[in-house]
C-alpha cells in the first residue's frame, strides 16, 4: 500500500536535492524507510545519526508510521543563535 507525503528540504539537503519541497509517493511505512528512499533517489549516503525527523512540524522518532498527507522534514544539525 502506497503512502503520499510532502517532504521539505533544508540547508545542505536543499542544496543537494536542489528542491525546497516535493511530494513523494511510495511503499515506505515510516520515516526511517522514507530516509532510505531519499538517499536512494538522490544517490547520496547520509549519516542518519546526524539528523532528526519532523512530522507535521513536530520532532518525532524515525520509527513513527507515516500517514497520507503528512509533511516530513529531515532536520540537519541546527545552528540558530
Amino acid at each position: 500500500m502506497k503512502t503520499k507525503v510532502t517532504l521539505k528540504y533544508f540547508a545542505m539537503l536543499r542544496d543537494h536535492t536542489k528542491k525546497s519541497e516535493e511530494e513523494i509517493e511510495g511503499t515506505f511505512s515510516n520515516a526511517h524507510e522514507l530516509f532510505e528512499l531519499i538517499c536512494s533517489n538522490y544517490q547520496v549516503k547520509l549519516d542518519k545519526s546526524q539528523f532528526k525527523v519532523a512530522i507535521n512540524e513536530c520532532y518525532e522518532d524515525f520509527n513513527t508510521v507515516l500517514e497520507n498527507g503528512d509533511t516530513v522534514a529531515f532536520i540537519p544539525p541546527v545552528a540558530g543563535g
Binding site: Q50, E57, C58, A73, V78, A79, G81
Partner: protein, 152 residues
C-alpha cells in the same frame, strides 16, 4: 500577568524598538541577550551569514521553548526574536529578554532560552567566507559520500 512572545523575522533587529518590553510594574530585573554576527569562526574570516529556517515549525518550537521557560523559572515575561535571511557582520541574529522580580530568575531564564534555541530551533546558518567559499555550520558530517565523490 505572565506573557511570552516568539517571532522570526527578516527585518533588521538592531533597529527594532525593544525597551517597551521591559515595562512591567512587578519587574525589578530585565536580562537581555543579543547574538551578533561576528567576522570570524574556527579561524576563518566570515564575510556574511545566511540563516534559513523551517518557518512554521520554528514558530511552534520557539513558542514551546518560551512556554517551558515560563513554567521552569519565576519570571513575568519572556520574549525572543530570531532573524533569518542574509545578515552582515554586526547584525543581531537573535534577541532574548527575560523579565522577573529579581535578577537571578531573569539570568537563568535568558540562558535557558538561548541554549535551547541553539539545540532545537529548526534554523540553519550558512557562513560565507572572505575567500569566496561557504559552509553550512555543523552540517559537515551529514553527507558521507555523494554520488559525485564515488565517481571521482
Amino acid at each position: 500577568m505572565f506573557s511570552k512572545s516568539f517571532e522570526i523575522t527578516t527585518e533588521n533587529i538592531n533597529s527594532l524598538p525593544k525597551t517597551d518590553w521591559f515595562d512591567f510594574p512587578t519587574a525589578g530585573a530585565a536580562v537581555t541577550f543579543e547574538g551578533r554576527v561576528r567576522n570570524h569562526n574556527d579561524g576563518r574570516n566570515v564575510s556574511f551569514l545566511e540563516y534559513q529556517t523551517y518557518e512554521e515549525m520554528s514558530v511552534k518550537v520557539g513558542n514551546t521553548i518560551l512556554k517551558n521557560a515560563l513554567d521552569r523559572f519565576d519570571i513575568t515575561a519572556v520574549k525572543c526574536i530570531h532573524r533569518y535571511g542574509k545578515l552582515k557582520i554586526g547584525d543581531i541574529a537573535v534577541w532574548v529578554v527575560a523579565v522577573s522580580s529579581h535578577r537571578r530568575e531573569s539570568f537563568e531564564a535568558c540562558q535557558y532560552v538561548i541554549d535551547t534555541i541553539k539545540d532545537e530551533l529548526p534554523m540553519w546558518k550558512k557562513e560565507h567566507y572572505t575567500e569566496g567559499t561557504y559552509e553550512w555550520v555543523a552540517c559537515h558530517r551529514c553527507l558521507e559520500h555523494s554520488h559525485k565523490k564515488h565517481n571521482e
